[in-house]
C-alpha cells in the first residue's frame, strides 16, 4: 500500500520525476562531459596527422633553422619560435614588476574603499578583446614608440638591441602590447594569491618589529611565492598564444635579429597570415607550427595551474558533492 502511494507521488512529479530520466540523467550528462576529452584527442590527432608530412621531410631542422620559402617549398621556423619567445619574455620583463607592484598595492596598501573598484576595473580590462589592443597598438602606440626608438637609436647606437631603422611595427612594439595585455591577468591572479595569505603571517612579522615592506617581502611573498610564479607563467601562456594584437604590430618578417627594432614573426602571427592561402607542404608545415605552439602552451599552463593550485587549495575544502 505504502509503496503504491510512493509510486503515485513520484509519478506526479512530471518529466523530471519519471524513472527513465532519472536513470539516464547521469549517462546523458556524462556523454556531454566526455566531449571535452574527445575534443582534445581529435585536436591532437588532426594536428599530428596533418603535420606528419612536414615532420618527416624536415625533421629537427624544422625547428632549428630559419628559412621560410614557399617558392622552393622549404620550411624551417626557428625565426617564429624565436619571435614568440623573445616577444613573450620582453612582455614579462615589462609586465611582471608592474603587476606585482600593483597587486601588492591593491591587496596591502590601498585604502579599503579603493580596493574593490580598482580590482574591478583591472578585471574588466582583462575582458577587452585583443583586436582592440591591436587597433590601439598600430594607430596610437606604434607612432609614439617610433619616436622613442629614433631617440634611443641616436643616443645608444652602439647597443645591438637598438640597431637598425626604427619602424614602430617591430619586436619592441609586440613586447609592449603583450605586456599591456597580460598585465591585468598577472595583477588579478597574484592579488588573489596574496590575499589568500593568512593574516597571521603578516601580523607575526609586524609584531616582531618588521616594517610593512619587510612583512610583505618575507612572510607574504614566501607564502604566496608559488602562486605568484603561477600567475606569471599563466601570463606567459597568454602571451605565447596571443594572435591578433601581435600580428598587427610585429611587422611580419621572417627575421632573427638581436635588434628590438627589427620586424619579426611569432608562431601565431605566421599562422594568421599564411594559413588561409596555404596548401600541401606549406599547410603541413603550418600545422606543425600549430602543434609545437599547442605543446608549449599546454606545458606552460599545466605548470602554472599546479603552482596556483598549490597555494589557493591550502586549507580549502575540495570535496565534491
Amino acid at each position: 500500500m505504502a509503496l503504491d502511494a510512493d509510486k503515485r507521488s513520484l509519478k506526479r512529479q512530471g518529466i523530471f520525476g519519471s524513472g527513465i530520466v532519472d536513470r539516464y540523467f547521469r549517462s546523458i550528462t556524462f556523454l556531454l562531459a566526455i566531449i571535452v576529452p574527445i575534443l582534445i584527442i581529435v585536436l591532437v590527432y588532426v594536428l599530428g596527422k596533418e603535420s606528419s608530412a612536414a615532420w618527416f621531410k624536415f625533421n629537427w631542422s624544422f625547428l632549428t633553422s630559419s628559412n621560410w620559402d614557399p617558392g622552393k617549398n622549404d620550411y624551417h621556423v626557428f625565426f617564429a619560435i624565436y619571435g614568440t619567445i623573445v616577444s613573450s619574455i620582453l612582455a614579462l620583463i615589462i609586465a611582471v614588476p608592474l603587476s606585482l607592484g600593483a597587486a601588492v598595492c591593491l591587496s596591502e596598501l590601498a585604502p579599503r574603499w579603493l580596493r574593490e573598484p580598482a580590482s574591478f576595473f583591472i578585471e574588466l580590462l582583462a575582458a577587452v578583446p585583443s583586436i582592440v589592443y591591436g587597433l590601439w597598438g598600430i594607430f596610437v602606440m606604434a607612432p609614439v614608440l617610433k619616436n622613442c626608438e629614433v631617440w634611443l637609436g641616436q643616443k645608444f647606437p652602439y647597443i645591438p638591441l637598438f640597431a637598425g631603422t626604427p619602424r614602430g611595427a617591430d619586436m619592441l612594439a609586440a613586447g609592449v602590447i603583450l605586456a599591456i595585455m597580460i598585465l591585468p591577468y598577472i595583477t588579478s591572479v597574484s592579488r588573489d594569491v596574496i590575499q589568500a595569505v593568512p593574516a597571521t603571517q603578516r601580523e607575526a612579522a609586524l609584531a616582531l618589529g618588521a616594517t610593512q615592506w619587510e612583512a610583505i617581502r618575507g612572510p607574504v611573498f614566501k607564502y604566496a611565492r608559488s602562486g605568484i610564479i603561477g600567475a606569471i607563467i599563466l601570463g606567459l601562456g597568454r602571451a605565447l598564444g596571443e594572435t591578433m594584437a601581435v600580428t598587427m604590430v610585429i611587422g611580419n618578417m621572417p627575421n632573427v635579429s638581436a635588434s628590438l627594432f627589427s620586424p619579426a614573426y611569432t608562431m601565431p602571427s605566421l599562422l594568421a597570415n599564411q594559413f588561409n592561402e596555404a596548401s600541401n607542404m606549406q599547410l603541413s608545415a603550418l600545422t606543425l607550427v600549430a602543434l609545437v605552439l599547442v605543446v608549449i602552451t599546454i606545458i606552460i599552463n599545466i605548470i602554472a595551474r599546479l603552482l596556483i593550485w598549490s597555494v589557493s587549495s591550502k586549507g580549502e575544502n575540495k570535496g565534491a558533492c
Partner: protein
C-alpha cells in the same frame, strides 16, 4: 647584539627608507599599469564616438574608400555566431559541469577536469585551424556554422568549470533534504541545486559569451568574413572583430574610422556583459578562473 646605537639608528633609517621606497614603487606601478589601459578606453571614445550614429547600426558598408556606411552586417553576424556557438556550447558546458559536480568525483571526472583546463589554454587560432580541418575542408567552404562551432568549442571549458564550481558550492544539506522528501535525483538537481547556484552559473555563461564575442583569431579560417549582409549559416559571415581587423589593415582613413567605432561598440558590449556578470554575483561567490 651589542651594536653601537648609531648603527642601529642607521639601520632603522635604512629600513624605513626601503619601506617608503617600496610604497612609492608599488603606487607608481599601479599608476603606470592603469595609464595605458585608461588610454585605450580614452582613444576608443575619442576616435570612435564622432562616427557613432544610428547609421552605423542600420547601414551596410559603402564601397571601399568611401565615407559613411555602417556595420549592420557585422553586428548581425556577431549575434548569429554567438547564437550558433551558444546553441551547442552552453548545453554541453552546463550539463558537463553538472556531471563533474554531481557524479565527477572519480578518475574520469579528474580526466575531464584536466582536459577542460588544457582546452581552455589552447591558443584560439589553433581552435580555428582544427575547425578548418574538420568542418571547412570537408564542406569546401567557409561558413557561419564553422565559425559558430569554433567559438562554441572555446565556450565549453569555461562554462563547464564555472558551472561545476558553482554547483559544488550548494550545501549538501539542500540536496539531502530534497532527496529525503522523496524527490528524484534529477528533480533535486534541476529545482533545488540549480536554483541555488543560478547566479554563479549565469555569471559564468555571460563571461563565456563576453569572451567569444571579441575573438577574431578562430574566425579567420572559419567564418572568414564578408562585406555583405548574410544570415545563411552555410555562407561566410561577417563579425565585428574580423571586420575591425580588415578595416584596420586597409589603407583607407574612412575604414580606420569605422574600425574605431566598431571597436567602441564591441568593447561596450563586452564590458556591459562582464560588468553585469560580476554584478550578478557580487559578494555572494568568488569568481573562479
Amino acid at each position: 647584539m651589542n651594536r653601537p646605537p648609531l648603527r642601529q639608528a642607521g639601520l632603522a633609517f635604512r629600513r624605513n627608507l626601503t619601506n617608503k621606497l617600496m610604497w612609492i614603487f608599488c603606487i607608481g606601478a599601479t599608476l603606470i599599469a592603469i595609464v595605458p589601459l585608461g588610454m585605450i578606453l580614452f582613444y576608443l571614445l575619442e576616435k570612435g564616438l564622432p562616427n557613432l550614429s544610428l547609421n552605423f547600426f542600420t547601414q551596410l558598408p559603402k564601397p571601399m574608400g568611401e565615407t559613411g556606411g555602417g556595420m549592420k552586417h557585422a553586428i548581425i553576424g556577431t549575434i548569429e555566431l554567438i547564437a550558433i556557438a551558444s546553441s551547442f556550447g552552453l548545453p554541453t558546458g552546463l550539463l558537463g559541469g553538472i556531471y563533474l559536480a554531481e557524479f565527477g568525483n572519480n578518475k574520469i571526472g579528474g580526466i575531464i577536469r584536466f582536459t577542460a583546463d588544457i582546452l581552455a589554454s589552447v591558443p584560439s587560432i589553433v581552435i580555428g585551424m582544427l575547425v578548418y580541418t574538420i568542418v571547412v575542408l570537408p564542406r569546401h567552404q567557409f561558413s557561419a556554422l564553422a565559425g559558430g562551432i569554433a567559438l562554441g568549442i572555446m565556450m565549453i571549458p569555461t562554462v563547464t568549470r564555472t558551472t561545476e564550481e558553482m554547483v559544488k558550492m550548494v550545501p549538501m544539506e539542500l540536496r539531502e533534504s530534497a532527496l529525503s522528501l522523496g524527490v528524484t535525483r534529477v528533480r533535486t538537481i534541476f529545482t533545488v541545486v540549480i536554483t541555488a547556484a543560478r547566479g554563479g552559473i549565469i555569471t559564468g555563461v555571460l563571461l563565456a559569451i563576453a569572451r567569444i564575442a571579441g575573438e577574431t583569431a578562430p574566425l579567420l579560417f572559419t567564418a572568414f568574413g564578408s562585406r555583405y549582409l548574410s544570415t545563411d549559416i552555410n555562407k561566410p559571415i561577417a563579425s565585428l572583430p574580423k571586420q575591425i581587423y580588415d578595416y584596420a589593415s586597409g589603407p583607407y582613413e574612412a575604414e580606420h574610422a569605422q574600425a574605431w567605432t566598431g571597436a567602441l561598440v564591441l568593447v561596450t558590449l563586452i564590458l556591459v556583459l562582464s560588468a553585469t556578470a560580476r554584478y550578478a554575483t557580487r559578494g555572494r561567490y568568488r569568481m573562479v578562473r
